[in-house]
Assembly symmetry: C2
Homo-oligomer: 164 residues x 2
């Protein structure tokens, strides 16, 4: 459990807060940041030591982050342990993960709500709820529009800033 310098610890705390906005757990955010700040890929044992968490916890954390394509495994010959490092194109990766969630969700919701709308229409008596469902549909259409626009904004941005 080697103590980080105060300064490094501040950096970790600050950046983790941002990652939490992407709906990444505080614990996973911290792990990611530590990995990102490290100049070489890290082993599970190293991360366990640095985070002060058990190896099992770190292991599942790494799996979470890998699932989001935010962390990748690397090989280095002569090293037996698994080595992990953060993927590059931070901004692109995070936004991609993020926008994907929003867009796939809104798309699914639009479908669900339409099918509910159909069920309402098939009822003998139209329900008061119908108007509300319509509003929900509009809501999701607006969301979709907004985030689609954001997506293309991000593509423009990363085009001008290819390295982050």
């Amino acid at each position: 459990m080697q103590p980080e310098s105060y300064l490094t610890d501040d950096v970790i705390n600050e950046f983790s807060k941002t990652l939490e906005l992407f709906d990444i757990s505080p614990s996973d955010s911290r792990l990611f940041t530590i990995l990102f700040l490290n100049h070489q890929p890290m082993t599970l044992d190293e991360m366990s030591q640095t985070t002060g968490k058990s190896k099992t916890t770190v292991n599942t954390g790494i799996r979470n982050l890998s699932d989001l394509n935010l962390v990748k495994q690397v090989w280095k010959k002569g090293v037996r342990k698994d080595l992990y490092t953060t993927t590059d194109d931070l901004f692109q990766r995070f936004m991609h993960y993020y926008l994907d969630r929003w867009l796939s969700h809104t798309s699914m919701q639009k479908q669900s709500l339409s099918s509910i709308e159909d069920r309402i229409n098939n009822r003998p008596q139209g329900e008061l709820i119908e108007e509300k469902v319509k509003q929900m549909l509009v809501f999701h259409e607006l969301l979709e529009k907004a985030f689609t626009q954001l997506k293309s904004t991000c593509q423009e941005i990363t085009h001008t800033n290819p390295k982050d």
Copy 2:
């Protein structure tokens, strides 16, 4: 604990999922949706009954939602109990709450990181961490750019769709 119809229950479940993307707790999302679907303002007791949660729970839930300006209290003469209803302009409200969080956060983070950068520069020996902090700053600048753009997109959208 009057049972909702299956159909209404589906609507509640679906829409709640969307609200959770705005980082609203499942429980609060459900409460909001129920309130939104209701055709009249509701009392704490009614919401308690409909949600199946205790009055205390509903009370704190309503407070949370009020803090986010998603729910408002209304008066109706002759009715002694507090009445609550959802605010209109759903899309605008949610996006506002949401974008505010992102933008105020990124702005604060940029400040924090700059001040950390200064602390690094004042050190006798420049640290390896400096480069990483620079990357983080760029990251936040991109975030700010993206969400600022999204904000103006939303303003355009709500301008063409003033009623949602």
